[in-house]
Symmetry: C2
Subunit: 353 residues, 2 copies
């Protein structure tokens, strides 16, 4: 089976062309069946490809000089969809010229463009941004939504659970992923009405959806390793994600400060190097780079703006796995399995639909 | 000036009487002007006091056998207010028998009882739970609300900012505390309508309130040390707090695992002991124990259920400082300074009042 190729917005991100191209080259070494469409300034892409003959051989370049900047508002970006590297990468997914697009550019612009060009899947009201977080367990945890939707209703949360479970099946190979809703307590009475309703719907539909629904979880238990999918609205999800990232960085800074506080500590640091390197590796956001925009007719992956070559390679690898496993069709199948109608009938969602 | 005494719910918390009494004794050594009302089972309190003659000399015991358990619903707890250690400790604040109450018991019950007995201050619609978090800067940051109010409107957020600033003045001795609203981005267009409105109101009222209002902050920047008060609704605040606590614990677990991964790492750990102890001290939640329930006619402080003696001592010390600085009256003065009316007129809050 020939696999759809991956469109890379070569111009987005703080580091520009070189990091995007080298990241793709690194990912290609691990997934050599994939082909690429590199979108952006042709001379600069060609220059970056010079040291990567393998990637060059499996890539086509789509030239454009237009770039969406970090300051561009989504509304401005949309108007420049056909003349920018980000817009053309997404458009390639729309036309079927590529199966997925990867960009390290402006998140708001990327989401707006992707939504407009690719439209949401049948049965999905709103797409969501999903990422993988490290855990103390055997596999990463999928968390969504991370900021695509500031406010969410019950239907949105249920659909996020279905999309998140499909993603988790790819990542964990677990047939019935363990799904929980993020809340401020685990008792059934906790949280907003939307959360309590979503819990009722998911409990009733768990068997049909082939998920293991375990109720609510709290933000301090996301990384404990006993849950595969954490579902939340985009506001809380963004708060939780950034609190986790910020604290990991904060602790790293404190650790560095502690290790340089005395000569003995400095010696200890040198001896402990393998241990701290292990920790650093585990917490390095580049090793979990690649937030997936789920629920559209096509896959769009956001690489972090400050990701390094390894980080971009991870984002491309995530994209490759989602394509290989054909996640978009899996979500469609799951939605069909429970039936959009049956979902609509369960719980008191109908009132707000 | 004689200072109001502190009522201690001696029965709450996972560890029970001994930890509460020893914590109070430790705090008393640092704040020896304070007197205590120890509420709970008299024989057990007396036994715990035997090794603490100084605390015994400055304490009175109020006997009751009733205890609010972790499973009691707030509605059940309220009915037992007059026969439980938690209820009687709060009641002592109501009657003026004590200036503040400290409990390590059931948070929901404590909040419900405190609200009912003490009522909210004039000018405050809803009380909020505030805590101190460690930062990379010179002082801790005050964050509120941490879970008292699942959903908040603009007025609530503005009032939380005023209460948080009063608390921050006590902790930081900064005349104009740096206040920010927690959001999912720093641009003016980000977040919910309530947040954007609250930002407008605080910007206009900053001079009157003697605060430095710096707009929005994101959850990864809470502990950076460049802000004194982070204001948020109780849902997001609870998510952020738990994500921060959980991640600090998670990184600690990873570090422990890394340090025991090889003989070299184990040796490194021994040599680095002072550095890791420094880190442990900085991150130990006991060193930041004591969440304050602000906005009531009286001070109620929640000690963490699993806090150790040092943790309880910190919660009692926080209570002592709040009493010394007379925070409740400071908040009243601040509210008067901006005027409840002027606050109500600014921004589009009136529509929703």
């Amino acid at each position: 089976m020939s696999l759809p190729r991956i469109a890379i917005d070569a111009m987005g991100g703080d580091e520009g062309v070189r990091v995007m191209v080298e990241g793709a080259a690194l990912a290609r070494r691990r997934h050599d069946r994939f082909k690429f469409l590199l979108v952006g300034d042709e001379p600069r892409i060609k220059a970056a490809l010079e040291t990567h003959p393998n990637l060059r051989a499996s890539s086509e370049i789509l030239h454009t000089e237009g770039v969406i900047s970090g300051e561009d508002k989504p509304s401005q970006a949309i108007r420049r969809a056909k003349s920018t590297s980000m817009g053309l990468a997404i458009n390639a997914v729309k036309t079927g010229d590529a199966g997925a697009a990867v960009s390290a550019g402006n998140t708001g612009a990327l989401m707006a463009m992707a939504k407009l060009a690719l439209r949401t899947m049948p049965g999905i009201d709103r797409p969501a941004l999903a990422a993988l977080l490290p855990t103390l367990g055997d596999n990463d945890v999928v968390m969504l939504d991370l900021g695509a939707n500031t406010e969410c209703d019950t239907r949105n949360l249920v659909q996020f659970a279905i999309m998140g479970a499909a993603y988790a099946r790819v990542v964990t190979e677990r047939e019935a992923p363990r799904v929980r809703l993020l809340n401020i307590g685990t008792e059934e009475t906790k949280g907003t009405e939307e959360l309590r309703e979503a819990a009722n719907v998911l409990k009733a539909a768990a068997a049909d959806l082939s998920i293991s629904f375990d109720g609510f979880t709290e933000a301090d238990k996301v990384c404990r390793g006993d849950v595969d999918v954490v579902v939340t609205d985009g506001f809380s999800g963004n708060i939780a994600l950034k609190a986790i990232e910020g604290t990991a960085r904060f602790v790293g800074d404190l650790l560095r400060r502690s290790f340089s506080s005395s000569l003995r500590s400095k010696v200890g640091f040198l001896v402990s190097r393998p241990a701290t390197e292990l920790l650093k590796h585990h917490l390095d956001p580049n090793n979990h780079n690649g937030a997936v925009f789920l629920g559209l007719n096509g896959i769009v992956v956001k690489s972090h703006g400050s990701a390094n070559v390894a980080g971009v390679a991870n984002a491309v690898a995530v994209t490759a796995r989602l394509l290989e496993e054909d996640v978009t069709h899996r979500i469609t199948a799951d939605l069909a399995r429970v039936g959009a109608d049956s979902l609509r009938m369960r719980g008191p969602m109908e009132e707000r639909a």
